[in-house]
């Protein structure tokens, strides 16, 4: 039969057929700029979501213990690296919704970061305490940097890991009261600069979005620790010290989280510890500008990308509420009750909407930031963190 077709015709037919095949096998072309990952903490899965059409594109399973999981993105925003509590890093493909690679790298981990050149993944570990560097392509181990021994006689737990320009990473040591900056420009031979005396029990940290400042929140004292990485020789200094001013500290049922979204324009917005307040500081001088009273212990204090409003969620037992602070008037303008156990919030890239995860109602709630009305809700299994792919292009995220 093939012999009946002239040679040229046969080639053309084969070509057409293979084109047809390719067209039906490949998913339609699309970008990743409006995609995101939602952690489903109890079932060890993540959902890939589209934040333009507010829908789920699929679920990726088998990611292990995702209590306290966090995510960073490859700089082409195609891959998400998911850091699980069980010490595993899972690389997932947002387009094919496949688990591409998974490495178990520690027994207890808290998060990670990606280098400014996009080539190195850093994992911050509780057990064994320290930082490990991996090749972003294949997750091969590049270097192991144990933390200095802490008060408990073991390498300190690492908190607050954030990327800085020049392939550097900054982090704090919960058990050793120290801020470290790791230069990974030669990732197999990283160089460590230590800043001891950084304040009692740093619990988390953040880098400003220009990568200049690293701030560590302190559990053991009222204040934060600041490193100006343009002037490292000046060392670490205390800012917002004594913010509780002798008030009785209230119990903290969940530790707050810090990240670069706390800083917008001229202000930084930070959770007070043991005080039901959001601290507002000048983002250059770091002097306190105001303390805005809120209804509970703040956990996430996130500025809208515009910087006009700041959204706050709370620790147990107030974790069913979210408050919105108006920045110019420094007042809470709205208290929302979007669902039980609101664990996380994430703005779209330009902040037209915010996505909230409600763990105990198994749902995601999308709220319009202009009207504060709910746009839609989506089902999710005990969702916690929500991470949108715009983070791929932002320092300190």
């Amino acid at each position: 039969m093939a012999g009946l077709l002239p040679e040229a015709g046969r080639t053309a037919l084969i070509l057409t057929l293979s084109l047809l095949l390719a067209a039906c096998a490949a998913p339609p072309l699309r970008g990743t700029g409006d995609l995101g990952v939602v952690i489903e903490r109890a079932s060890g899965s993540v959902q890939v979501v589209d934040n333009t059409h507010q829908r789920s594109l699929g679920r990726i399973q088998g990611l292990g213990d995702l209590s306290h999981a966090s995510v960073v993105f490859s700089r082409d925003a195609r891959y998400a690296y998911v850091f699980g509590r069980d010490g595993a890093i899972s690389k997932v493909d947002l387009l094919t919704r496949q688990l591409v690679q998974r490495v178990a790298q520690a027994s207890n981990s808290i998060g990670g970061a990606i280098s400014s050149d996009g080539k190195v993944i850093a994992a911050q570990n509780y057990e064994p305490g320290g930082v490990r560097l991996f090749d972003a392509d294949n997750l091969a181990l590049l270097a192991d940097i144990p933390a200095v021994t802490g008060h408990n006689g073991k390498p300190s737990r690492v908190v607050g890991l954030a990327d800085l320009p020049g392939n550097r990473f900054a982090y704090a040591l919960f058990d050793a009261d120290e801020i470290d900056v790791l230069d990974a420009s030669d990732p197999a031979h990283p160089v460590l600069a230590r800043h001891p005396g950084a304040g009692k029990s740093p619990y988390d940290g953040l880098a400003s979005m220009d990568g200049r400042y690293f701030l560590a929140g302190l559990y053991g004292e009222d204040g934060l620790s600041l490193l100006d990485t343009w002037r490292p020789e000046q060392g670490v200094r205390r800012v917002l010290a004594g913010y509780g001013r002798g008030e009785q500290a209230m119990p903290v049922y969940k530790m707050p989280h810090l990240r670069g979204w706390s800083i917008a324009g001229e202000y930084a917005f930070l959770p007070a510890i043991g005080h039901h307040e959001v601290l507002m500081a000048d983002s250059r001088s770091w002097a306190q500008v105001a303390a805005v009273p809120v209804l509970g212990q703040p956990v996430f204090v996130m500025a809208e990308p515009s910087g006009r409003h700041v959204w706050v969620n709370f620790a147990f037992p107030d974790n069913d509420k979210v408050q919105v602070i108006d920045v110019p008037s420094r007042q809470v303008i709205k208290t929302l009750q979007p669902g039980r156990a609101i664990l996380h919030m994430e703005f779209t890239a330009r902040g037209d909407a915010v996505w909230l995860s409600s763990r105990d109602d198994d749902k995601l709630v999308v709220i319009d930031t202009a009207t504060l009305n709910t746009r839609s809700t989506l089902p999710a299994r005990e969702p916690s963190g929500i991470f949108f792919s715009w983070r791929a292009g932002r320092m300190g995220m």
Binding site: A42, D65, S67, R85, N108, I110, G220, P251, F316
Partner: protein, 112 residues
Amino acid sequence: MDSGPVSRLLAALLACGLVLPAMAAPAAPAEPRASQLLQLLHNDCGACHGLTFRGGLGSPLTPEALQGKPDDSLAATILNGRPGTPMPPWRPFLDEEEAKWLVYYLKQGARP
């Protein structure tokens, strides 16, 4: 919430009665309180101690980690917190019997 965790727990209590006769099993709270407590344990305690209690900012609460530590003092830690550390007092949300029950449950190897 279904009674799955509670019946599993009861089974664990029974089993342990045979293995560890010296340890008196505290009475399980009535439903729905028992389920609420287990949810609190996994979600809210788990936020610091890890969903599987292998530790985080809070110390591990696995049977191995708690072995040899007196039940009463562990229950007191839960109720009163541990000043100077991030362990907060849970007395506003738990009574003494409930705290002891949680200690017992943790020592049996709580499962999420």
